[in-house]
C-alpha cells in the first residue's frame, strides 16, 4: 500500500472509492446509490470550478474568519522544557471549531442542487451546531441527529443548535452516542433523499462524504503552511503536528498540505481517545489494533466483536467517542505516513489543567487529548523542533464535565 505524491489523498481512492484497495467504499443500501452518485458528480465538478472556489473562499474568509491564529505557547514551552510548542487555534473559527468548514461546504452544495433541507449527525454537538449555523446562513431547514447521552452532556451546543432554528432529534438506540446518531441520520436520508441533503459530520461515511469533509477541513493546513513560511521563512526542518482523532476530520485537515513532505521533516501524530484509565472500553481503533469492518458505509478499522457487532465505546470526550475512524486515517496508518497513539480521559483532563494554567487558551476535551501526548513528547525533543497542536475546539461546551471533574475553578476562568 502506497501513498502517491502530488495527488490529493482524497482523490487517491479507486473507482469504487477504496483507499489502498481496502479502506472506504460505498456499503450503502440501493436507495442511496443515486443520491450519492449525484453528489459525487456535483462535487467532482465544483471542486475544479473557479467560481465555486471563489464562493467558498469568500465565505471562509468573511464568515468563518480565516485564517485562524497560529501562536507560540511561550509559557508552556518554558514549563515543558523541550521543543518549541505552538498551537493552531482553529477554535477561533466562527462557532468555535473546525466543523464549520465541512458544514459550510455541504450547505453550498445543497443550495446549488436545489435541496431545501439539510440533515446531519453530531457527537460533541459541534458538527450539529455548525451545520445549524450554516443552514441558517444559507436559508436551509436543518435537522440534527444526536445521541440522547450526548444531548445530556453537551447542553451548550444543543442550546445553540435550537437557537439557530434547527430541530434536534434525540437518538435512543444502542449506546445513545455518535455511532447511533450517524446510523439514524443515514436512515432518515434513506427515507428522504429526494428532498433532503445529508452532511456527514466527519471524514467518515460513504466515500464521497469522506472526500468532501477532508477537502473542506484542509483549509486548516493551507493556512498553517503559509503561517509557518511567514514566521520561519520556510517549513522548519523538524515539525510535529499533533491532533486528536475521533472520526478524523480535523487531523486530516491539519495534515493534508504537508502530505508530500518526508515524515522526518513533518511528522503527523494522531491521538485517539483511550477512555477512562480503568475501563477496557475505548475509542481508539487505530492504536489498539481493531480489525477492519464495515461501519456507516465504509470499510475501516473499527471496534467490534468477533461476530461483527459494533462495540460500545467510552470516552470523556463526546467528539472522539466513535468506534470507527476515517478510511483516510486507516490509509495513513497502513502507509506509515502518520503515527497513532491514545490518551486516557485522565491524561486529557490533566493536559487541560496544564494548558489553562500556563496559557490563555481553553482547548476542549477533544484537543486536550492531543495536548496530553504533545506535552509528554515535547519534553524529550530538541529545542529546534516545532511541535504544533491543533486546538480544534473550545472548552465552553465542556463546562459541566470540567466542573464535575476538576472543580469550579477551572470553569470560572472560561
Amino acid at each position: 500500500m502506497k501513498l502517491k505524491k502530488r495527488i490529493p489523498v482524497i482523490d487517491q481512492g479507486d473507482k469504487f472509492g477504496f483507499w489502498g484497495g481496502k479502506f472506504g467504499g460505498n456499503f450503502v443500501p440501493e436507495t442511496l446509490k443515486k443520491p450519492i452518485e449525484d453528489l459525487e458528480i456535483q462535487f467532482n465538478k465544483l471542486k475544479k470550478d473557479k467560481n465555486f472556489l471563489k464562493e467558498r473562499d469568500k465565505y471562509f474568509k468573511n464568515w468563518i474568519g480565516t485564517p485562524t491564529r497560529f501562536i507560540k505557547l511561550n509559557e508552556l514551552t518554558k514549563h515543558v522544557g523541550g521543543a518549541e510548542i505552538w498551537s493552531k487555534v482553529v477554535s477561533d473559527a466562527n462557532g468555535g471549531a473546525h466543523k464549520i468548514y465541512n458544514a459550510t461546504v455541504h450547505c453550498l452544495l445543497a443550495r446549488r442542487s436545489g435541496k431545501k433541507v439539510i440533515i446531519g449527525d453530531t457527537g460533541a454537538g459541534y458538527a450539529g451546531k455548525m451545520l445549524s449555523m450554516a443552514a441558517k446562513k444559507f436559508g436551509l431547514k436543518c435537522k440534527i441527529f444526536m445521541g440522547a447521552k450526548d444531548i445530556e452532556r453537551q447542553q451548550p451546543n444543543v442550546k445553540a443548535m435550537k437557537k439557530n432554528g434547527a430541530e434536534v432529534v434525540p437518538v435512543y438506540s444502542g449506546s445513545k452516542t455518535l455511532v447511533d446518531a450517524v446510523s439514524e441520520c443515514m436512515r432518515y436520508w434513506v427515507a428522504n433523499c429526494d428532498t433532503t441533503a445529508m452532511c456527514v459530520g466527519s471524514t467518515v461515511g460513504p466515500a464521497v462524504f469522506v472526500r468532501i469533509c477532508g477537502w473542506s477541513t484542509s483549509q486548516i493546513s493551507r493556512e498553517l503552511k503559509t503561517q509557518l513560511i511567514d514566521h520561519f521563512g520556510t517549513v522548519p526542518k523538524k515539525v510535529k503536528l499533533y491532533n486528536c482523532v475521533g472520526g478524523g476530520s480535523s487531523s486530516f485537515g491539519f495534515w493534508n498540505e504537508f502530505m508530500d513532505y518526508d515524515k522526518k521533516q513533518v511528522e503527523f501524530i494522531g491521538v485517539e481517545a483511550g477512555g477512562p484509565a480503568k475501563s477496557k472500553k475505548h475509542a481508539a481503533p487505530l492504536t489498539f489494533g481493531s480489525k477492519i469492518g464495515i461501519l456507516h458505509g465504509a470499510a475501516q478499522y473499527v471496534n467490534q466483536n468477533s461476530d461483527g457487532q459494533i462495540e460500545e465505546t467510552e470516552s470523556i470526550s463526546a467528539g472522539l467517542d466513535y468506534p470507527g475512524v476515517s478510511p483516510l486515517h486507516c490509509f495513513l496508518k497502513d502507509t506509515k505516513r502518520a503515527r497513532y497513539t491514545a490518551a486516557s480521559d485522565e491524561e486529557a483532563l490533566k493536559a487541560y489543567k496544564i494548558v489553562t494554567r500556563f496559557e490563555n487558551l481553553r482547548p476542549s476535551l477533544e484537543p486536550s487529548h492531543a495536548f496530553a501526548v504533545a506535552i509528554k513528547e515535547a519534553k524529550k525533543l530538541s529545542k529546534d523542533t516545532v511541535v504544533i497542536i491543533n486546538s480544534c475546539g473550545d472548552a465552553y461546551k465542556d463546562r459541566a464535565i470540567l466542573e464535575k471533574k476538576l472543580g469550579k475553578k477551572y470553569v470560572k476562568s472560561n
Binding site: 460505498n26 450503502v28 440501493e30 446509490k33 443515486k34 434513506v190 464495515i294 461483527g308 457487532q309 459494533i310
Partner: protein, 266 residues
Amino acid sequence: MLNPINLAFKKAKSQHRPALLTYTVAGDSTKKQSLEILKSISHHADILEVGVPHNTPVADGGQIQTSAYRAIKNGIKMNDIFKIIRDYKKSKNPKPVIFMGYYNMIYQYGENNFLKNCEKSGVNGLIVVDLPWPENKIFSKKCKKKSINFIQLLSPTTSNKRLKSITKDSHDMIYYISMLSTTGGKLKVSPKKILSNYKKIKKISPNKNCVIGFGITEKTISSFKSTDGLVVGSQICKEITRCLNNRQNPVINVSKMVSRLRKKIS
C-alpha cells in the same frame, strides 16, 4: 432441479396468488422462540426471510431495530443463527430460507466460510442490504457457485440504466423496495404508482421473480395481488414486541397474523 426458491414461486403462481414472504429476526426474542416462530409460520408462508441482526443497521426502521437489539441482547451469535436454520430445515414442512443482513457480519465470518455454512445449514438465498451492485458482483458469483440465490435490490431511485444492468446480473429473484423509506415505514406512495414501477421491472426482466417489500402490511397487502411475491416484515416484528409487552405468546399470534396475510392474497 429447480431451485427451491423458484419452486416456491411456481407453486404460488399455480394457485394464482403472489408468494408470501415473511421476515423475522433470528434469535428474536430467544433462539428457541425464533425457531418456533419459523416452524409455525411455515404453514402459511412460502418463503422465510430470516434477519441476521446487526447493531448498526442503516436501512431498518424502529420495529426491526427493536427485534434485532432484543436478539443481540439475548446473546445471539452467527453460529446460533446457522443452527436455528439447520434445526428448522429438519422440521416437518420446511420452506426456502433467505438470510437478510448487513455485509459486516459476512465479512467477519469470511465470505467463503459464510457461504459454506449457508450451504450446510440449508440457506437458499441471501439479501445483503449494504452490498449494492456493482460492488456485489464477485460475491454474487460466489453465491451462484454454491447454488445460493443472491437477491439484488431495486429501489425507486434506481435509474433505468442501472435497473437493466442489475437485473441482468441477478439470479432467480429480485426485490423491489416500494418507496424511499427504511423498513416499517407507512406506505407513502400509492399502490398504483408502485405497481407501475413493478411492471417496468417485469418488462425488462420478465423471467425473474420480483417481490415487493417495505410498507406491506395486513392493511395494504391486498392491493398487490398481481405481483410475484410480497414481503411482510416490520408488522410481524411489531407483533412480537406487542406480545412480549402483554405477556402473550408470540408464536401463536404471529402465526395467526401470517395466516390472515395469506388469506388476503389467496
